[in-house]
Every structure is written in structure tokens, then in C-alpha cells.
Symmetry: C3
Subunit: 345 residues, 3 copies
């Protein structure tokens, strides 16, 4: 789009050259072809050095810019609107089953469902009205996918997995893999055995859940691994068998929750944190980045951090240890010399 077209679409006015614009970008990262934005004169230096081809500025901005200017009332909001215009058009996933998809005749496909190329839908599976199942997806036997759920390419639902309505499941997600469970020990003759414990349950995902790329959620040993409604899970997260997340919680990238643990409503597990198995995290508790939670959290502490996890106060105290120790050492040294002096009296 040209700067003039963008200005018109945003209800703003163009000052300077009518350049071609292709994307939005922050002042510092912008390059030729980018539209950037600034509201606050205190960032004037960034405006002066930006490589953007045009910048959205408020009417009162009198400091100029090294590129074309589009005047708008609210540069931040205008930039969001422009981003929408520049965004690659969302691919249309029209209702219909691609001729290359292998769909078992016993599967129930709802109205308006899109099924992409090379996707496999096994027997007894049900896909709700309006759902989109993109290319190269595997929907195992007896799986159920709720209405209007969007499944991106190359994810797998093992047999019996249930996904609610209005979910978004990204590429490479693995739902319903076997949980990690083995019995081992020694036989009477002294030899070691390792025996797989059958993983007989399923994964059930509630309505409105979003699951990020390459995240894995294991099927229950018995019963269900449960991801409650509106839970938002980032990329590369691991959720063990029989975990129960009540709902409205978030799990950030590369975090993990071990088997049979329960996580309440409105919790947030930050990136790379780990939660041990067989414990309970109360509603609203946040687990900080890289934290390691080894015991149940009853909610009396709202944010834990560190490994093993503790309160911010305890964690902060721990960080101060070297400083406190140095101070104490100096005090002891002084005491020593005073005691030495006293001894000589």
C-alpha cells in the first residue's frame, strides 16, 4: 500500500513523499518500507534516527521526522489498525473436505467443517460444526473436536482425545500420547526389569483453550488429563498424565507440570518453570520463570520463585546473602581486633 492509501484508511493526513509501505515496526527496528509510530515527544531521538519510511505522529507533534509523516489523533491505535491492513490475509478455510483427506466413513463431520489435504480422521471421530482441521492433521479413533475449533497443520490427537469448542490448537501439538509410567525392580534371579504401565485414560480439553506449537499433553493413566476452559498454553509446554488444570490459567513456554498435579483457576506458570507431580496449586497462584515447585501451594503466597520455589521475600533475601555475608565478615574482623586490644589491656 502507498502512504497515501494508508493515511486515507486511517483517517489521517500525509505529509511528505508518498512512499510504498509494507509493514509496521517499532522506531528502532523499522526499515525501509515500514510504518512506525510515536506519541510521546520524549522519544524524539528514536524518531530522528528511525529508518522507517513513514511515521504516525499526533497533530501536536512539532519536532519533524526524517521520513514521511502521517498525522493521526492516536498513533498507537492507528498503528494497530495499519498492522491489520499489512497483515498477510488470513487464509480462507472454506467448508469442505479436501479430496486427499482420508476420512473414515463412520466419522461424524459437522456442518461447515473444513478438512485440509493429507489429514486423517479415523473411525468414530466427531468434528463439530464450523471447525477447521487444517492440512496433515491426525485425528485418532473416537476423538471429539468441538464446534468452531481451529486446528493448525501437523498436530496429532491420539485415540479418544476430546477437544472443546472455540479452541485453537497450533502446529505440532501432541494430545493423548502415553504418559511416562513404568514399574521396575529386580527379579528373583537378580535381573532388572522395566515394565510399561498401561495408559488407559484420555486427554480432555475444555472450551476456549489455546495450545501453542509443539506442546505435549499426555493421556491419563486412568480417567482424564484435564485442561479446563479458557486455559492458554504456550509453545513447548509439557503436561503429564492425570494433570488437572481447572481453567482460566496460563502456562508460558517450556514450562512443565508433572503427573497428577492440580492447578487451580486463574493461575499463571511462567516460562521454563516446573511443577512437581501429585501436588496442588491454589487458585490465582503464579509460579515465576524457571521456578521449581516441589510442594503444594495453598494460596497464602501469591507468587513463588526460585528452585525450590519460595516467596519473593525469601528469594530476595537469598540473593542478598553474599552482600550480608561480606558485611558480617567485616564486623567480625573488627570485633576480633577489638577483642585483641582488650586482651592486651
Amino acid at each position: 500500500m502507498t502512504a497515501r492509501e494508508v493515511a486515507a484508511a486511517l483517517g489521517g493526513t500525509l505529509e511528505g513523499e508518498d512512499v510504498e509501505l509494507r509493514a509496521c515496526g517499532g522506531l528502532e527496528e523499522a526499515r525501509a518500507g515500514d510504518l512506525s509510530f510515536c506519541k510521546d515527544p520524549k522519544h524524539v531521538r528514536l524518531v530522528e534516527s528511525t529508518k522507517a519510511s513513514a511515521v504516525l505522529l499526533p497533530p501536536e507533534w512539532s519536532l519533524g521526522a526524517p521520513c514521511s509523516i502521517i498525522r493521526v489523533a492516536d498513533p498507537n491505535r492507528a498503528c494497530m489498525a495499519a498492522a491489520r491492513m499489512f497483515a498477510p490475509p488470513e487464509p480462507v478455510r472454506a467448508p469442505g473436505v479436501h479430496p486427499t483427506a482420508v476420512v473414515d466413513p463412520s466419522a461424524k463431520i459437522g456442518e461447515g467443517v473444513h478438512i485440509g489435504p493429507w489429514t486423517v480422521v479415523e473411525k468414530g471421530a466427531e468434528i463439530g460444526a464450523g471447525a477447521v482441521v487444517e492440512a496433515q492433521v491426525f485425528v485418532g479413533e473416537g476423538c471429539r473436536i468441538g464446534a468452531n475449533t481451529h486446528i493448525y497443520p501437523q498436530m496429532t490427537l491420539r485415540e479418544g482425545t476430546i477437544v472443546g469448542a472455540d479452541c485453537i490448537i497450533h502446529c505440532g501439538v501432541r494430545l493423548g500420547g502415553d504418559g511416562y509410567g513404568f514399574n521396575n525392580g529386580r527379579r528373583e534371579d537378580g535381573s532388572v526389569y522395566i515394565e510399561k504401565i498401561p495408559q488407559l485414560g484420555i486427554v480432555e480439553v475444555g472450551d476456549g483453550v489455546e495450545i501453542g506449537s509443539n506442546t505435549t499433553i499426555d493421556r491419563a493413566r486412568i480417567g482424564r488429563t484435564y485442561i479446563g476452559p479458557m486455559t492458554k498454553i504456550d509453545n513447548l509446554v509439557q503436561i503429564g498424565h492425570n494433570v488437572k488444570i481447572r481453567g482460566y490459567s496460563g502456562l508460558i513456554a517450556q514450562s512443565g507440570v508433572a503427573g497428577s498435579t492440580e492447578i487451580g483457576y486463574g493461575c499463571l506458570v511462567w516460562a521454563q518453570a516446573g511443577v512437581s507431580g501429585h501436588i496442588k496449586i491454589a487458585d490465582g497462584v503464579q509460579v515465576g520463570p524457571q521456578a521449581g515447585v516441589t510442594q503444594s501451594l495453598d494460596g497464602s503466597v501469591k507468587y513463588v520463585i526460585g528452585a525450590p520455589a519460595e516467596s519473593m521475600k525469601e528469594f530476595g533475601g537469598r540473593l542478598l546473602v553474599p552482600k550480608l555475608l561480606a558485611k558480617l565478615k567485616a564486623e567480625v574482623r573488627e570485633l576480633k581486633s577489638r577483642v585483641a586490644a582488650l586482651s592486651k589491656r
Copy 2:
């Protein structure tokens, strides 16, 4: 199934309404349609508040329940048996090659092998008798898969990878990707170069190994990355090039082992732990969750934890530091006042 059918199948007797049962679940997590179980009267509160539709109880249980009761001699064992009845039927993977699979004519496919839709088997690959290779799998040139091994959908074996017999490989596993290896430095003219080191070896996986969803194991630089027999690997684990795991070991979710490290027999690497490259972990050593092992472990310490990893005793001592420091500070304060008093004498 109805409660009456379940009771009959378990050799128990039904008391109360003949409800429909669909799954097993713990007393706390159970909901309508679930069968739960309790053996120990000390959990009577959980029985009283369960939302299960029926509960398995021992004959001597006299405390009642808020739902139907199925009396059985051993409720725990009965629940496992019931879980098997409720479990989604394991999909039948009958012998045969799906018509949509692309199998090179030079590939050797053993007796009774199942190959699913959209799977690719490249030239020279060998698949042992009774193996199951599900949908959308990629088996590269010259790969060998042992008898009765089960490969779930959407995993990839790069060229030359060897997988033993009786293995289970879950969705999204990547075997034989290039290891991370680059030479870099500065040229005479001062410019920086980064040069890929060819990764010429393979991955070899022994018999009876299980590998969890989305785990990655890199091919060797030269020779083999080796996963010994009966090793059990969880989801999202990373194993670098030329790692050697002797066998009968476990690696829990999101752990990682860097290049050229050797791990003995019967080791256990817990979740999110990391093991540095070019070191050796002796037989039977356990690496605790989130630990970071930077040096070889000769087995004199059987369990390490923390980063850098140390013994439980050392780690525990470290955790006590703030408390010890506070105590010492108080002692120094007291000493100070005593010394001050002495000085005034």
C-alpha cells in the same frame, strides 16, 4: 456400561441405582458418569463429597456413600480393571500397507507390518516383522526399524537411523537430525565466518526403548548417537550428537543431554535437568529435577541436585544459608554489645 454390567465384570455386587458409567476417576476429580474407588475409611470425607456416580468399596465399608456402591474385595485392583473396560479400544493396526503410503520398491517390509496413510518409506529402508508404522511418518533412506516396534503418527527418521525391536516411538519424535556443530572464527580480513561441521554419523536406538512425544535425538558427528536397550525417554527431551546411554535408564520430560556425554546403566535424569557435554555419568546415578550437571559423576554420590549439581547434603546446606546467616548476625550483634561493655570497664 451400566453399573450392573461393571459390577458383574468385576465379580462385585451393586448397591443402589443402576447408573451409566463411562470412566474412572479419583474421588476428588470424579464427576457424573465416573466410577471411583476407596479402600481406606480414613478417606471417608472424600467419599462423602465425591461427585462420582458409583464408587468401588470393600465389603467391610460401613460408612455409606452419596452414590451407588459396587462392593469388591480389592477396590484399587478393581478400578484398574474397570479402567481397562472404559478405555478407548486400542485402534487395530492390521497388517498391510495403506494405498496412500509412498513406499520405495527397494524397501524391505517384514511380515505382518502395518504402514498407515501418507507415510513415506524411502529406498533401502527395512521394517521388521510385526512393526506398526502409523500415518504420516517419514522413514528416510536406509533406516532400519526392528520387529514389533510401534511408531506413532508424524515422527521422522532421517537417513540411516536404526531403531531396535519392541520399541515405542511417540508422535513428533525426531531421530537423526543434524547435531549442532559449527566452526567459527575470523578470516584474515577480520570478517567473521561460521561453517557447518558435517554430521556424518547416525542414531542407533536399542531394543525395548520408548521415546516420548516431540523428543529430539541428533545424529552423531561421526559414529553413532546411541540409546541403549530398555531406556525410557519422556516428552520434549533433547539428546545431542554422539551421546551414549548404555541402557535401562530414564530421562524425564524436558531434560537435555549435551553432545558426547555418556550415561551409564540404570540412571535417571529428572525433568528439566541438563547434563553438559563430554562428561560421564556412572551407572545408577540420579540427576534431580532442574539440576545442571557440569562434571562427570563417578557414582560416589547417587543423587545430585542443584545447578551446578551437588549432593542432597550440600544442596540442603545451601538452602539453610539465610537462616544460618541470620543466626550468626544475631550472635555477632550480641558479641558486639558484650565487647562494648567490656571496653567500658
Copy 3:
């Protein structure tokens, strides 16, 4: 190959039996059929106990070996050359589109491009000359792949993703998934809402980048997530939306970089490390394994470690705390007894 053939190819001479050789391996890990190597007489013990079938030794080696010997001037270099001979032949990916690939007629496919079976190329996508897109890949609408880039099986490019020339993208990589972004709060009636923030930007990957198996890189909220030229990313790495990596940097396995962070030239983020969002890492800074970087690093410290990350000196000091504390405790105890003695005078 036989040992005689290997010797001839390497310009060396065979001493002992003409055995069959199949792979290279270090002295300790080698087994029957392997060719190993040794240059330095101080490793004679390892040579004496190797299970290799042949070993590469320098002409001056007079200590013998328990297997066939191939004499060569430089055993290390010869072993690399032998590894190349033993390596599974690199699969030929001849120019052409596999008949099972679904390629939109509007896609622009360059000269000499290989597209493998079951691959999907959506409308408007462009694939540069000489590129290899292997089996079961998903190339979304409007994606651009540069010349000579190699894409391994089963990776996905969501719509609009740009990949430069001469890149290597391994199996299971996910480019362009939605970033993690939600608005949440309470409505006037007290109920909680969680609302997805549209992720309108793209991922742009520069020339010469390598990305390891199952790594995920999210599309920008607006603008681009940018991976600069020659950046080398290992397996299972997470890169959040709007991250900008200038180039010539490395990210080792299972590390993660949160949204909007900038990483300079020539940086190295070691395994399992995490970098917080909205910060800047200066050129040439290294982030140690499992470190947690929470604040911008201006380059005055070249290597950080620990969580929160600090200099090696600070981190080392922290590790010494228990020892220093014990020493101080002993000093205080001694002071106490001296003060007690003084009091009695």
C-alpha cells in the same frame, strides 16, 4: 567396506587381518566393525582395550593394537575422511515436484526446486531456485523460501513467513505460530475475561540460518519476529513474538527468548537458558546454560550465568557462601569464648 579398501582410500597401509568396517567410533565406544583412531601414545590403554576392528595409528606408533592397524600420517584427519565414506549416502533430492504434493497453481516454484511427497504449498507462496522442500512439509499462503534453502520433512511455515537463502530447517520446526498474547481482566459484573490479541505480523529468517528440530518461532504481534543472517538455532528452542536477533548468533537446545527482546550480533545463548521479554542483549554477550536473564546486558559483562543472571565472579562467590559461612561461624565461636574469658578477668 573392507579395511584394505579403507586403507587404500586413505593412502595408508593395512597391518593385520582384512576385516569388514562399517563405521567410525571413539576408542572406548567402538565395537566390532568399527574403525577407531589414536594419535597420542598416552592413550595407549584405550587402544589396548578397544573393541574396534581396526584402528588408525601414526607411522611412529610402536605400541601395537588388539586389532588390525591402518597406518596413516594423521589419524584424526583420516578418521574424518573415513567417516565420510561410511556415512549413509546423502539422499538425492532431484529437481521436480512429487506427484502427491499439493501445490497451488499460483505458487512460484524456482528452477531446480525439489518438492517431496505429501507436501502442501499454498497460494502465493514462492520457493527460490535450487531449494529442497522435503516430504510432508506445510508451506502456508504467501510464504517465501530463498534459493538453495533445505527444508526437512514435517515442518510448517504459517502464512506470510519469509525464509532466506541457504538456510537449513530441520524436522518439526514451527515458524509463524501465533505469539502468546491475551488481554484479561474483570468485567463490570465481576466475571473474568481472557481475550486473544491478534497476532498480525510475520516471521522473517535471514540467509544462512539453521534451525534445529522441533524449535518454535512465533509470528510478531505487529511487524516481524526477525532471525538475522547466519544465526544457528539448536533443537527445541522457543523464540517469542517480535524477538529480534541481529545475526551471527547461536541458541543452544531448549533455550528460550521471550517476546520483543533484542539479541545482538555474535551472541551465544547456552542450553536451557531463558531470556526475559522486552530487554536487549549487547553484541557478543554469552548467556550460560540454565541462566535466567531478567535485565538488559550492555556488554560490560561478556558472560553471565545463574538465575537471575550475574557475572562468573558473582556467581562463583555465591557458590562459596556455605564455605565462607562455616568459616565465619568458627571465628564467631572462637570470639565468643575469648570474650567469655575476658569477662571473667
